[in-house]
């Protein structure tokens, strides 16, 4: 019996502690316990496993005493194993406690991030509302500068006959400043829609006047497109001679009737004017 035991121990020793001292009394369980017990004792969260740590210490002390007295290897192994297991259990309890701490901290942090995100979102919306309002105000100012008239259809800016070549749809360079400002206004607020209406006097055939009014409206539209206004913001219509603003009996009246009107619709009245 004894020789067999020595054989096993020798085999174990050569496998485990080849680099260590060749003393056959090196007991692996004891080495493990001596390493792990002080580790858990030193943990800042040792409190969560006080029982296991105290059991580990007692067992390790017993194992050390046995080893000092040259006690039986099996006895030392047993006490050392009890010490090591208790230390391992303590270690797991400490790791669990640390994970729970993280969860607790994380719950608070998560709430803070959520609150922060909501605040930021609210700020962003307020900022957007403010700039939208500012844009609307600046639009009103621009239109006022362009001598826009408030009507029940919205603000109407009139481009007079003098801005077109006689009898043609071509815009004269004098119209560019107005076009430029209109484009700026429309680009600033892409939700804003404009209806471009061409009008003529009563001189000439209806067909000619209809066609001329359409081409003049289209010409203004094209000039706005060229300046980067979105197609969806603009619609055009040729009204021919159907909607005079002055008498066609004298030259001054006829000149007033030859015009292009840009109708800037209020967001609210948009639907109403679409049905026109």
């Amino acid at each position: 019996m004894k020789p067999r035991y020595s054989l096993i121990l020798a085999a174990a020793a050569s496998a485990f502690v080849a680099a260590c001292s060749s003393t056959p009394e090196t007991i692996e369980e004891l080495e493990t316990a001596r390493a792990v017990v002080p580790q858990v004792e030193a943990s800042p969260r040792a409190g969560v496993a006080a029982n296991n740590i105290s059991e580990a210490r007692k067992a390790l002390d017993r194992a050390n005493q046995l080893a000092d007295k040259g006690g039986k290897v099996a006895e030392i192994q047993y006490e050392a194993t009890v010490a090591a297991r208790n230390a391992q259990i303590a270690n797991e309890k400490i790791l669990s406690a640390m994970a729970r701490d993280e969860i607790e901290k994380g719950t608070a942090e998560r709430q803070a991030v959520l609150t922060e995100a909501r605040t930021r979102e609210a700020d962003r919306n307020a900022e957007y509302a403010r700039t939208a309002e500012e844009r609307a105000k600046s639009l009103e100012r621009e239109l006022a500068d362009l001598k826009g008239k408030k009507t029940d259809r919205g603000v109407v800016v009139t481009m007079g006959d003098v801005l077109f070549d006689t009898g043609k749809a071509t815009l004269k360079p004098g119209a560019y400043a107005t076009i430029e400002r209109l484009a700026t206004v429309l680009k600033e607020d892409t939700a804003r829609k404009v209806l471009i209406e061409g009008h003529t006097d009563s001189v000439g055939s209806d067909e000619y006047n209809q066609s001329l009014s359409e081409r003049r409206a289209a010409s203004v539209q094209a000039a706005l497109f060229e300046r980067g206004v979105e197609a969806s913001q603009i619609s055009t219509v040729g009204k021919g001679e159907t909607t005079p603003v002055a008498s066609n009996d004298n030259a001054a009246g006829r000149q007033q009737n030859r015009r292009v009107e840009l109708v800037f619709q209020d967001d609210r009245s948009k639907v109403a004017s679409d049905t026109n």
């Binding site: 047993y78 009890v82 797991e92 998560r110 991030v113 962003r124």
Partner: protein
């Protein structure tokens, strides 16, 4: 190897000193074994088929078997010791499993915070929000 050594060494060493004086097993030791059995069963339920604690549970079962065998042999001290080791291994198995669960929950929490942070820092305007809603339809 450590393990096989313990299994062989403990009974061998104890056999000499204890076998002679051993009559019956005390009620206290029987209770001790019964408690370890309960602990091992509970550990089995906690761990199920998961990996965390499986090795320790296996070891607890081995120690419990050894305790039962020693009890049959009428070896009080060996029974007592294997029962104690079975108990400790069952507790360790459960602790490991609990740590793994807590760790996983903590990692998920950290990941969700990270994701929230990224979402919060991504600039979105009400226009984008409207766009998304429209796209969803």
């Amino acid at each position: 190897m450590n393990h096989s050594m313990t299994r062989v060494a403990v009974p061998l060493a104890l056999a000499a000193g204890l076998l002679a004086g051993c009559g019956g097993i005390s009620d206290l030791t029987k209770e001790r074994v019964a408690r370890s059995e309960t602990s091992v069963q509970q550990a089995q339920q906690t761990i199920g088929n998961s990996e965390q604690g499986a090795v320790e549970l296996q070891r607890a079962k081995g120690n419990l078997d050894a305790a039962r065998k020693a009890m049959k042999d009428g070896d009080e001290k060996t029974t007592e010791r294997y029962a104690q080791l079975a108990q400790l291994d069952a507790e360790l198995a459960v602790s490991k499993s609990q740590t793994a669960t807590a760790r996983k929950a903590a990692d998920e929490m950290l990941a969700s915070i990270k994701q929230l942070r990224q979402e919060a820092e991504r600039p979105t305007s009400p226009n984008d929000a409207q766009q998304r809603t429209t796209d969803d339809k």
